[in-house]
Symmetry: C2
Subunit: 353 residues, 2 copies
Amino acid sequence: LALRLLVPVGPATSTGGRPPAQVAFNAGAATVLSIDLGATHATIALTDLNAKVISQRSVALDIAEGPHAVLDVALGLGKELLEQVDVPVIGIGIGVPGPVEHSTGRPISPPIMPGWDGFDIPAYVRQSIDVTVLVDNDVNILALGEHATSWPDVDDLVFVKVATGIGAGVISSGSLQRGSQGAAGDMGHVQVPYSRDSPRPPEDERDLEAIASGTAIAKQLTASGLKAESAADVADLVRSGDARAIEATRQAGREIGEVLSVVVSMLNPSVIVVGGSVARAGEHLLAGIKEIVYRRSIPLATQHLSIVPSQSGERAAVVGAAIMVANRALSPAAIDQFAAQDLGSPSARVRVL
Amino acid sequence: LALRLLVPVGPATSTGGRPPAQVAFNAGAATVLSIDLGATHATIALTDLNAKVISQRSVALDIAEGPHAVLDVALGLGKELLEQVDVPVIGIGIGVPGPVEHSTGRPISPPIMPGWDGFDIPAYVRQSIDVTVLVDNDVNILALGEHATSWPDVDDLVFVKVATGIGAGVISSGSLQRGSQGAAGDMGHVQVPYSRDSPRPPEDERDLEAIASGTAIAKQLTASGLKAESAADVADLVRSGDARAIEATRQAGREIGEVLSVVVSMLNPSVIVVGGSVARAGEHLLAGIKEIVYRRSIPLATQHLSIVPSQSGERAAVVGAAIMVANRALSPAAIDQFAAQDLGSPSARVRVL
């Protein structure tokens, strides 16, 4: 109550004795600043403690310009959003398009982020806004956002993103699982053994990403004489109804399904969400995934399994980044620390958690 | 303190003001009754709240005699153990050799447990000893026991049992993951796609269990003219140094490795423990597993990965069943309920949690 995280609501009905107080969680007690960095864009949002977006800015931004340039723009926009509200910000959540050591917030050999390898994102951000800064890869952030937005009552969910690359976010027992080195969900680097359902030869031992990502499909289509350089081009061809692009996308779904069928047996999720630009181009990718997962898995594991397209789209990213921070901030240990701060004065808007 | 879960220890050093009290967790405040049911044996143990075994009985018992006969013997032995101590029992943990719906404690179509399908184990047990009864399959129980006994500081561990069948127990973020229907870890029913490392033909789409379990290896050896009817026979042949049995076991390890390499990329465990009778026959199964997992997975996922034989052996089962109960019993909600009981009187030995 002292923190305003709980506030009294309505007149309580007395049942005799000491009158009970009715209280409710006050999601507006503080804000979270959420930064979604993509390859060519950034979205910055201010949310409440329920990850509900209060205000938002998007800007075209090339991640390859490096951490100083990109973060300066994002933080400048973030400060503008913060100045418009009069409650403290308890933390900043950042999603980046590459692998991150979550415990330190440093990208690890990110393929499309030149200049970011090993960069201490939290330390740099806190020079501007001195609050808790949490960083994770975009797929984990999307999994958190999709879960919170569309499947809040589901405990076991796997989110798969199929775009330029392939990655997954694993939620078990209601929590995002990062694994021992933060490398969980690295589905793109699974080697796909030969299957007789695949046109690939038995000698082919490439990673899933090299076989079934948007980039890989584009290469196949180019080899067959079509003009396709990227996942976006593949999505465009599929939307235009090109038969070769549709079949290649469906086959990519089957290859992804081979890997997901192992995931289904090992983790027994009730929902698999498929997102990313290739998935958004139509039902073909999902159809290929379903075809193999339902054929390969035993009925007990699939009878209550839904395989669905992403509902939240890109909005899930800023929601997920905010959820990541709110989950940490509302832990009992964090609340004790938060309580030690003076949140009453207007000047206390920006606070160290 | 009132529950005796915390007890004062030693003289506290005063730093002025109110003298601080030094307290310690009192694992002896209550006991857990742990029942490990195998195909042909039962082990019954009484443990403290740290799952440390106080006393134990083992008995030859055919699970196929059905639930009444088997549970009556196990509970009879359990009562003898309970009568020797003067603290309350807070719950009973039971492991069975087949799939179980953990939320209800009912076996689900267990292949080697005739008469047990859908049987309400907790309800039957509570007619004798009216406490909380939790039931799970033997592999989950072994995973909990191995984790508690040998890897208590590891958050992400996968336990694989290779014996008559193949199953796995998945621990992520320090907790056993059962999945949405309790079917997580069903590694035996994963279909293994063709790999050029395997002597199997591309058309072979059998489950892992049909290819690499002790039973499957025995069938292969029988076909090649050796006498082997069971996983135990395979283990004996391997121990005797038979070259064909050793190579078949190593190849089974490779097939298991194909599936585990997907698990490593998706869950990023730091430890994979391999147990069961086939694993205990020597290093050949483990060597096959390591060969494929290290070849197929990316360095980030395997550089801190240990693939090791089970340390605890069968002892892990009763420890794991006790851990399962203690975890539930020491949750905050359960302690509140426990506190409502009168634990002071000697007659309060058997208590409803």
